[in-house]
Each structure stands twice: as structure tokens, then as C-alpha cells.
């Protein structure tokens, strides 16, 4: 059940995911630690999809040749503004990303996660592929991509 006013969701998500520069939110007294958002956001591939509270199992070069894992420099950048302005609580990615396989991907891809570029990277968004791809389907010289608009982000369940 959503409980947050949609206009606020739009403002918050737009502030987070359209910024091209690092900024910090500083809570008031008793509101906890300051929180720094560090673009660019990076898209990571996962053989096992995570959850709202735990990361999944990221693909790695050993089983997905051509893919680079790890934080903060793994995955691929979603560009200076990862998503467009949120309306109705949702938006889509503004840049395409593509990996080129240099060998057979012996593990499939089930989901994605979006992390920032902080030295100690922070996970922001996660979700499954609309249709996953199985083990050894991607082979040498194939390309794996997300087109502009292929990643839909929604905060409607906040």
C-alpha cells in the first residue's frame, strides 16, 4: 500500500536520479546521518535477483566474459542523468548501455541493480528482467543491451 504523496515521490526521485553532481542531504537534529548521493548511477547485472533489503548475486567476468563487476567502477554508467523527470511516480533511463560478450556467459542474467559511484557505493534500485536470459544463451560476440527507456523505475509503492 502506497503511503507517500505522489508529488513528493516525484520530487524526491527526480532529485535523486536526474542530478549529475554529488549532493548531500543533511537531516535535522535527531534525524540521523547526512546522506550523500554520488552520480553517475551504474547499472549492474545479476544472475540472482536481489530484494528490497539484500543485494543479489552479481554477474562476474569469469562466468560472463565482457562484463565487469564490482563497486564502484563495475557495471556501466547510466549517464549524467540516469532517469528523466519522474511523473506519476515513474520514469525511464535516458541512456542506452551495451556489453559485448567475449565468451559464453555460463551464468544467465535474471535481474539488475542500480548503484551510485561513491567509493563505498550505495544500492538504490533493484528489479528483475521482464524476461530473464538463461545460462550459455549469450555467446562470444553477442551484445547485451538496455535501450533508452528499457528500464522503468517506479516509486509508486513507497
Amino acid at each position: 500500500m502506497a503511503m507517500t504523496d505522489q508529488a513528493l515521490v516525484n520530487k524526491l526521485l527526480s532529485a535523486l536520479f536526474t542530478s549529475s553532481t554529488t549532493f548531500t542531504i543533511t537531516p535535522g537534529t535527531g534525524g540521523g546521518s547526512a546522506f550523500t548521493i554520488t552520480p553517475p548511477f551504474r547499472l549492474h547485472l545479476f544472475s540472482t535477483t536481489g530484494s528490497s533489503t539484500a543485494t543479489g548475486t552479481e554477474n562476474v567476468a569469469g562466468t560472463s566474459p565482457g562484463y565487469t563487476s564490482g563497486y564502484p567502477s563495475g557495471g556501466l554508467s547510466l549517464g549524467s542523468s540516469a532517469f528523466g523527470t519522474f511523473t506519476s511516480g515513474a520514469s525511464t533511463n535516458g541512456s542506452a548501455v551495451t556489453w559485448t560478450a567475449t565468451g559464453t556467459w555460463t551464468l544467465g542474467v535474471a535481474g539488475v541493480e542500480i548503484w551510485d559511484s561513491a567509493g563505498t557505493a550505495v544500492r538504490y534500485l533493484w528489479g528483475p528482467l521482464s524476461t530473464a536470459i538463461g545460462a550459455s544463451v549469450v555467446v562470444n560476440s553477442d551484445t547485451v543491451s538496455f535501450a533508452i527507456g528499457a528500464i522503468s523505475a517506479s516509486g509508486l509503492n513507497w
Binding site: T53, T55, S130, A132, A150
Partner: protein
């Protein structure tokens, strides 16, 4: 609910999703999975050559995903 697939050589296009012969349903994951690239539609043109080393026709996969907020935490 799909993956778009096109041949990098001849451009033959396919959409794999529920009901496609290349796609099965993973009960444990609750997710449709493209598992058989040989079942993809690929109407080879005469000038469509497989990769010289792998023997595969190079394909371009376009994925789609829907994501939502995560509880932020440190990197693993």
C-alpha cells in the same frame, strides 16, 4: 515481458517472451527465461555468416527491466 533479439548480420528480429518456444518458466524464480537460442527465429540470409570462431550467429539482445527503491546499504 520480453527480450528483443536481432541478428547483428542480417537483422532478423524476434521477440522472446511467454509462449515463445525459446522461453521456459522458472518456477523457483517466478520468472520467464530465454533458455534456447536455437529456438529463436533467424531466417538466415545468404550473406549472414556465423562468427568464424564460435560458429554462432552474433545476436543483439535488448533487455527490459522494472526497478524500484532498495533499502540503501554499503557495497558488498
Amino acid at each position: 515481458m520480453t527480450i528483443h533479439i536481432s541478428c547483428q548480420n542480417c537483422g532478423t528480429f524476434d521477440i522472446a517472451g511467454p509462449g515463445h518456444p525459446a522461453v521456459t518458466f522458472d518456477e523457483a524464480a517466478g520468472q520467464h527465461v530465454l533458455t534456447d537460442r536455437t529456438a529463436l527465429r533467424h531466417n538466415h540470409a545468404e550473406d549472414c555468416e556465423p562468427h568464424p570462431e564460435t560458429g554462432h550467429y552474433p545476436l543483439h539482445f535488448t533487455f527490459f527491466a522494472a526497478v524500484g527503491p532498495a533499502e540503501t546499504g554499503p557495497a558488498t
